[in-house]
């Protein structure tokens, strides 16, 4: 169907061009321009398909098709200018307003990119949440911000979306709480120096701390007396990995469950991302070991004799 229309348009165009060329008696420049336009119109499609045949990359194809269409539109506007200058001016002013109204998107994007880079709201490698996604910032350019989510999937956000929205920063250089020095420690010059050094580091913003908050719900069948004991077991195991002991606080209870906020603190954001799921697994296995390993021993003896098992808990 489309081909038929294309053929019809081409035939009409050829006839009009022939008429203009031989019988119209218009100005020479107008005749030439109409001829050029007709030729470009016919050459356009084969050229674009040729480009698609030669180049595999979308980038080159798009460039070539934009260039050809640009040339065609320049000549079309030229014809319009020769026919009627007023109409040409009117059309051009109309186009400028209509298009520039939308160009604010691109300009806005680049401007927010500049602001993001200058204001240093966050750096590459920080753990942030924006637009309902959490992840580590991989790239900040003039046009976009690339964030890697917790399961390793990349997310590309235009700068204008990031700059205009709420940013939750899990990584930051401020608000680091230090244990104050004891009096004996203060008198010892060694400790004093170390303290000064860390203090200096904070002032020059070399230390950044990542504090990630994970909200969890624990079922009501858990004995509140034993809960802390179980949690501390896991916390102690993860202290060497994160560098700092994870913490927790109770949030609220609802419908027989208790909601707990876990604070995972580390100096390196990627450690949090890498080990958070292992941490959760250990928590689940520790808290609900009765339910999870229900019937496991029998199953193991029945089906899994050929696999080596060892009673070993936790990561290595």
């Amino acid at each position: 169907m489309r081909k038929r229309y294309y053929l019809l348009i081409s035939i009409i165009l050829v006839l009009v061009t022939l008429w203009v060329f031989y019988f119209s008696g218009w100005e020479q420049i107008l005749i030439n321009l109409i001829l050029i336009n007709a030729i470009i119109y016919f050459v356009r499609k084969p050229l674009i398909s040729l480009a698609a045949y030669i180049f595999k990359r979308r980038f080159y194809r798009l460039m070539i098709s934009i260039a050809i269409n640009g040339v065609l539109s320049v000549f079309l506007l030229w014809v319009l200018f020769v026919i009627s200058a007023e109409l040409f001016i009117a059309l051009i002013s109309f186009m400028i307003i209509a298009i520039s109204l939308n160009f604010r998107n691109i300009i806005n994007n680049i401007a927010s990119g500049g602001l993001l880079l200058m204001s240093e709201q966050f750096d590459i490698g920080d753990l942030i949440e924006t637009n309902n996604t959490q992840g580590i910032v991989k790239e900040i350019t003039l046009n976009y911000v690339k964030i890697r989510e917790f399961d390793g999937v990349d997310l590309v956000l235009p700068n204008s979306k990031v700059y205009g929205s709420t940013i939750i920063k899990f990584t930051h250089g401020k608000f680091m709480v230090f244990k104050p020095l004891e009096k004996e420690e203060f008198e010892n010059q060694k400790y004093y120096r170390r303290y000064l050094k860390t203090f200096n580091k904070i002032l020059t913003a070399k230390i950044k701390i990542t504090k990630y908050v994970k909200q969890m719900e624990i079922l009501g069948n858990m004995d509140p007396e034993n809960l802390e004991e179980h949690l501390f077991k896991v916390f102690d195991k993860y202290k060497p990995i994160f560098g700092k002991r994870p913490g927790y606080s109770f949030d609220t209870t609802r419908s027989g469950r208790v909601r707990i906020n876990f604070y995972i603190i580390s100096e390196k954001p990627h450690l949090v991302v890498n080990y958070i799921d292992a941490f959760l697994r250990d928590l689940v296995y520790e808290l609900y070991s009765d339910e999870i390993f229900l019937g496991w021993e029998e199953y193991k003896q029945e089906f899994l004799q050929d696999i080596d098992y060892e009673k070993k808990e936790g990561t290595s």
């Binding site: 979308r58 798009l62 009117a90 002013s93 109309f94 307003i97 209509a98 298009i99 109204l101 939308n102 160009f103 998107n105 691109i106 309902n132 996604t133 046009n143 976009y144 989510e149 917790f150 399961d151 390793g152 999937v153 990349d154 997310l155 590309v156 956000l157 235009p158 969890m216 719900e217 079922l219 469950r257 990627h270 991302v273 890498n274 958070i276 799921d277 292992a278 959760l280 697994r281 928590l283 689940v284 296995y285 609900y288 339910e291 999870i292 229900l294 019937g295 496991w296 199953y299 089906f303 899994l304 696999i307 080596d308 098992y309 060892e310 009673k311 070993k312 808990e313 990561t315 290595s316």
Partner: protein, 298 residues
């Protein structure tokens, strides 16, 4: 140079022309309706074109017909036409917004054809990208067309990894591994560790070989989550692990899974890696069904 001599004559003629155009429109659409040869879509198109032409003709007569319009000083006409064209530009600027967004998407370049993406809750495979819209084939085998301005307004998740320097195995491994694999978040922790690590390494090496053999160094990942109950979770983990072994041949690489949250039940996230995105479209649903069978089996 006007068509009619006086304003009154012009007014009468314009009214006559307007009514007659309306009548002609009616007659043509009625007669087209009667002809059974045309398809409904074609009829609609013809009607639309005729209506558009008659509106243009009417406006032409309205502007050119009245002699008193020419008596208005040139400055006023310039101002009025300028204002009208600005208003029209404002009104129609939405049409151009898709093109401009298309250019912006082209600059930002968040995805390519064949990538697996999630845009506005539509997960699927990108079929084509044009200056005005992006076409996605979803996992339900439905074609979704999303306009470019809509894409800019929503977040785009790209599940496809574009690998660089794949000749080196260790660089390849660094790009492929998910944070959970690095952090050793596997669920069968009581299985002997060294043996398992060696097995995982061999799997990765096999995948590396496959990628080196394939033409373009692109790997599609896909993640989805399932809720597991607490009871007999360890047994279900083992069964799921065996299922993943079974799907290794189909997806080129063994699907991995890990806990990522828990409340009334345990949330487990599955991660599939494959070289061919069509495999995901074809087999992901089967995989999900098999997992469901394991979860709800006694």
């Amino acid at each position: 140079m006007t068509i009619f001599r006086t304003d009154l004559e012009a007014l009468i003629y314009v009214i006559i022309i307007g009514i007659s155009l309306y009548l002609v429109n009616r007659i043509i659409s009625y007669s087209i309706d009667r002809i059974k040869k045309f398809l409904p879509a074609k009829k609609n198109k013809i009607n639309f074109v005729i209506r558009l032409i008659s509106i243009i003709v009417f406006i032409y007569f309205l502007i050119e017909g009245f002699p008193s319009f020419t008596a208005i000083p040139a400055e006023y006409t310039v101002i009025v036409t300028g204002a009208i064209s600005t208003a029209l530009a404002f009104a129609t600027s939405e049409i151009f917004s898709n093109f401009i967004s298309g250019i912006l998407i082209w600059i930002v370049d968040p995805f390519d054809i064949g990538d697996i993406v999630k845009i506005k809750d539509h997960k699927g495979l990108i079929k084509s990208i044009t200056l005005t819209k992006v076409i996605i084939e979803t996992f339900d085998r439905i074609i979704v067309e999303i306009s470019n301005s809509d894409i800019l307004a929503s977040t785009v998740l790209n599940y496809t990894l574009k690998l660089k320097n794949i000749e080196n195995y260790y660089r390849f491994k660094r790009q492929i591994q998910s944070p959970q694999q690095i952090g050793n978040a596997r669920l069968n922790i009581d299985v002997f560790d060294k043996k398992l690590r060696k097995k995982e390494d061999n799997e990765l090496r096999a995948l590396h070989k496959l990628v080196l053999e394939s033409e373009d160094s692109v790997i599609h990942t896909f993640t989805f989550s399932m809720h597991f109950p607490y009871e007999r979770f360890r047994i279900k983990v083992d069964k799921t692990d065996k299922l993943c072994d079974k799907y290794t041949e189909i997806f080129d690489f063994k699907p991995k899974f890990h806990i990522f949250n828990f409340y009334s039940d345990i949330l487990v996230k599955f991660r599939i890696l494959t070289l061919n995105s069509n495999k995901l479209l074809n087999y992901q649903a089967d995989f999900a069904i098999d997992i469901y069978k394991i979860i709800l089996s006694k």
